[in-house]
């Protein structure tokens, strides 16, 4: 892990109470999880006990302590999506990728997470894949989307090895 990137994030921070949260949010954004060394560095520079940094990392859903996969699939399980069949979507993704909620596939390709609402309830059920919103989702559409991502990935992999 590149600690210089953490140092860059920490630069000039520490005067405001919320800074520690912002630093962790930036680290999460940069590395897509909170590496242990980065948390240690944060605790040291901001002079916050490491246990506090760890507590924050554990408490807030925005942070993950394990590396995430290359693709992030977020299934909304909010009330509006729930009554419109979000459970089926969860079954579809988890069954197809053979993971549990919050887990990453063995090959590191997909992480599946749930969210309590993304504020697009009128379009329920909603799934977000790599930041893109998909409305009125069905298990069938979802299965095809996942297969397509797999295919594109495989093609890119092939061109990489050929080159």
């Amino acid at each position: 892990m590149d600690l210089a990137r953490v140092d860059a994030i920490l630069e000039g921070r520490g005067s405001e109470p919320f800074d520690v949260m912002e630093v962790l949010q930036d680290i999460q954004e940069e590395f897509r999880y909170l590496p242990e060394d980065a948390m240690r560095q944060t605790a040291e520079i901001l002079q916050v006990p490491l246990i506090e940094v760890f507590r924050l990392a554990n408490f807030y859903k925005a942070f993950s302590l394990k590396p995430r996969g290359r693709h992030l699939i977020t299934v909304c399980t909010g009330t509006a999506c729930h009554v419109q069949g979000a459970r089926k979507l969860g079954d579809q993704v988890l069954g197809q990728l053979k993971v549990g909620p919050g887990e990453t596939t063995q090959d590191g390709a997909f992480t599946v997470e749930t969210v309590n609402c993304v504020g697009a309830c009128a379009l329920a059920p909603v799934v977000i894949i790599d930041g893109e919103y998909y409305d009125h989702m069905t298990p069938k559409k979802l299965r095809k989307l996942i297969s397509r991502i797999r295919k594109v990935d495989a093609q890119e992999e092939e061109t990489r090895t050929n080159a």
């Binding site: 506090e52 009330t79 509006a80 069954g95 309590n116 504020g119």
Partner: protein, 617 residues
């Protein structure tokens, strides 16, 4: 942008922008809120802009993209003035015709008009659409008139005039009196009098005072705060500035959910533009009043919407609530007097200052004034954001505006108030929706979520859903909430699995009482509402699960199973292909069978079968 040195500068700028606005004879307004973006409005918007240029209408036609209009389901949508013509579900391919016919020739393109699902007829103008016609869109109406990314559009509608009026001719005490006289109550759930909160905060001694806008909006199924911040961020900022002046604050915070990236971007952009005009920062409009706003991204914890937890989070700590006997208006953020209000509460403030307390108090019921935005979702024909006067009946909202049930089913219940609220049956739909009536009926206004459920929903499953949510989101600080909710969930799970007993229902009611009186914050205090309200109105469903071990709606996985009817099945194998868990095996010769051990009862196979050969029992 020039810094506005005084009230006259602002008035002159607003006038100039206002008359420019009136001069533009023809406008196309497209919604570009989060939901419409999900429906693909951006490529359509780009195409419209390009087509306007291509057909040489650049100087004549004003094109703007706005925040959410509320009718998300019909996106991408466009409104064309003059004529108030409303086009729904636009595609890039429709754009050429829209520009050449409607903008050039003043011809309405029939096929692009909205079809009312109730009457089946085409509707020509936005005003005539039943979904909009019965609403009173005091706040949401502005969303359709301005681009949230350009402060000039807000100013052209007289934006920041309320702040200017306040700073130059009203004392802080009078501002508080006006808000108090209006009868405004907090839109974040509790319904506390905003004027009273401001007065308490103003009177509290402290080195610094703070104002906070609560945009954490954790209630699943509610998204009015997102739409206001995203679509009209300056109204919220102006409201906060007026509040800050009234209570004596110089610093404000907007605490936004991380799931709302567009809202974050728009409010941050708005703050920057307000700074450039000198409407935020030091000596606003040449007065002694200085005020700044910082946007803070939440960490994704439902409990952080609670006022004391939010302030702890803002201090860089874990978002755990504390006992409320020490009031945040006296000891809030950094132990200083802090006034925290919801997004919609803040957005109402400039309207009250501009139009007067009486104007606001005329709307609504005896003790709930003004309008309220609801997120109408679930199993109704028209879903979206609905703004009505307090006191409108549930029936008006669900049937007149929402258009009633989908697919010819029957509406069974509406869930209001999110995880703190309850489920009300159809027989209660004549209830006037305000803070007190909903509370009396065993539910809550909450932040304004209204999830409609038809007869395909199992109410025990709904109770289980909310308990699961609350168990996950309980911060774990107090015992009754931490243990009580999970024990309630155990019992409801037993019921859902057909192994509940009648005695357990009594225990459930006891537990509900304990959790509601023993918990520290409103998360626990109201956690029993989904259970108690379903027990009150839908007890027979609990009893069916217990006595007959059956789920009348056919939802609870443990009480249903799927089989393939061999006579109807044509051995196509689609079900086996579609089952995500590979629970269906067989081949084209010998037919297919479902392995009940692996099957999770998700029902995906039922949808995949063209022959309807998979039966649920």
């Amino acid at each position: 942008m020039p810094r506005l040195g005084n009230l006259d500068d602002l008035a002159a700028l607003c006038d100039a922008l206002g008359s420019k606005r009136e001069q533009s004879t023809r406008t196309v307004t497209m919604c570009a809120g989060t939901a419409c973006r999900a429906c693909g409005c951006l490529p359509v918007a780009e195409a419209v802009e390009a087509e306007i240029e291509k057909q040489g209408l650049c100087g004549e036609v004003l094109f703007r993209t706005t925040g959410c209009h509320g009718f998300c389901e019909q996106g991408p949508l466009a409104i064309i003035e003059p004529g108030n013509i409303f086009y729904a579900k636009l595609k890039v391919d429709d754009v050429e015709e829209l520009v050449s016919q409607t903008l050039k020739e003043n011809q309405v393109v029939e096929r692009l008009l909205y079809t009312d699902p109730v009457s089946g007829e085409k509707v020509r103008t936005e005003d005539a659409i039943p979904f909009y016609a019965s609403q009173t869109r005091v706040l949401l109406g502005d969303n359709t008139k301005l681009s949230p990314e350009n402060i000039d559009e807000y100013l052209s509608l007289g934006g920041y005039t309320a702040l200017a009026k306040t700073l130059t001719s009203t004392s802080p005490g009078d501002v508080v009196s006006t808000v108090q006289a209006s009868g405004l109550r907090g839109r974040g759930g509790g319904g506390y009098s905003t004027g009273r909160k401001w007065e308490q905060c103003r009177q509290a001694p402290g080195e610094e005072h703070y104002v906070i806008c609560n945009a954490d909006e954790g209630d699943p199924g509610a998204y009015m705060d997102r739409c206001l911040l995203e679509g009209n961020p300056h109204a919220v900022i102006e409201g906060m500035a007026i509040g800050a002046y009234a209570i004596g604050a110089r610093q404000g915070f907007v605490y936004v959910r991380k799931e709302y990236p567009l809202a974050v971007r728009h409010v941050e952009g708005a703050i920057e533009q307000a700074h450039e005009y000198g409407l935020l920062g030091d000596n606003i409009l040449g007065t002694d009043f200085s005020f700044d706003v910082k946007v803070v991204h939440g960490g994704g914890a439902f409990v952080c919407g609670e006022s004391t937890a939010l302030m702890a989070s803002l201090e860089g700590k874990v978002g755990e609530p504390r006992a409320k006997d020490v009031h945040t208006v006296e000891h809030g953020y950094l132990n200083q007097p802090t006034c925290l209000n919801n997004v919609e509460t803040w957005a109402n403030v400039p309207k009250i200052i501009t139009n007067g307390a009486e104007w606001f108090a005329q709307k609504g019921t005896q003790n709930s004034k003004g309008t309220k935005i609801f997120a109408l979702t679930g199993q109704v024909k028209n879903t979206g954001l609905v703004e009505v006067e307090m006191g409108a009946s549930l029936r008006e909202v669900i049937f007149d505006i929402g258009g009633g049930p989908q697919n010819g089913r029957a509406i069974k219940a509406v869930q209001t108030g999110g995880p703190s609220g309850g489920c009300l049956p159809e027989s209660e739909f004549d209830l006037a929706v305000d803070f007190d009536e909903l509370y009396e009926a065993g539910s809550m206004m909450g932040s304004g979520g209204m999830v409609v459920m038809d007869d395909s929903a199992c109410m025990v499953d709904v109770a289980k859903y909310f308990l699961t949510f609350l168990q996950d989101e309980s911060c774990g600080k107090c015992l009754t909430c931490r243990i009580g909710i999970s024990r309630m969930l155990d019992i409801v799970t037993d019921v859902c699995e057909g192994c509940g007993t009648p005695e357990q229902l009594d225990l459930l009611e006891d537990l509900a009482w304990t959790v509601s009186v023993g918990s520290l914050c409103a998360l626990g205090k109201t956690a029993a509402n989904p259970v108690l309200s379903t027990l009150k109105y839908f007890r027979e469903e609990y009893e069916a699960h217990i006595e007959q071990e059956s789920c009348p709606a056919g939802v609870c996985p443990a009480l249903i199973h799927y089989t393939i009817d061999e006579d109807t099945c044509n051995n196509c194998g689609l079900c086996a292909q579609n089952c995500p868990y590979e629970a269906i095996s067989g081949d084209k010769e010998s037919g297919y069978r479902i392995n009940g051990e692996i099957c999770t009862r998700c029902g995906i196979c039922v949808e995949s079968c063209n022959k309807k050969a998979i039966v649920k029992s």
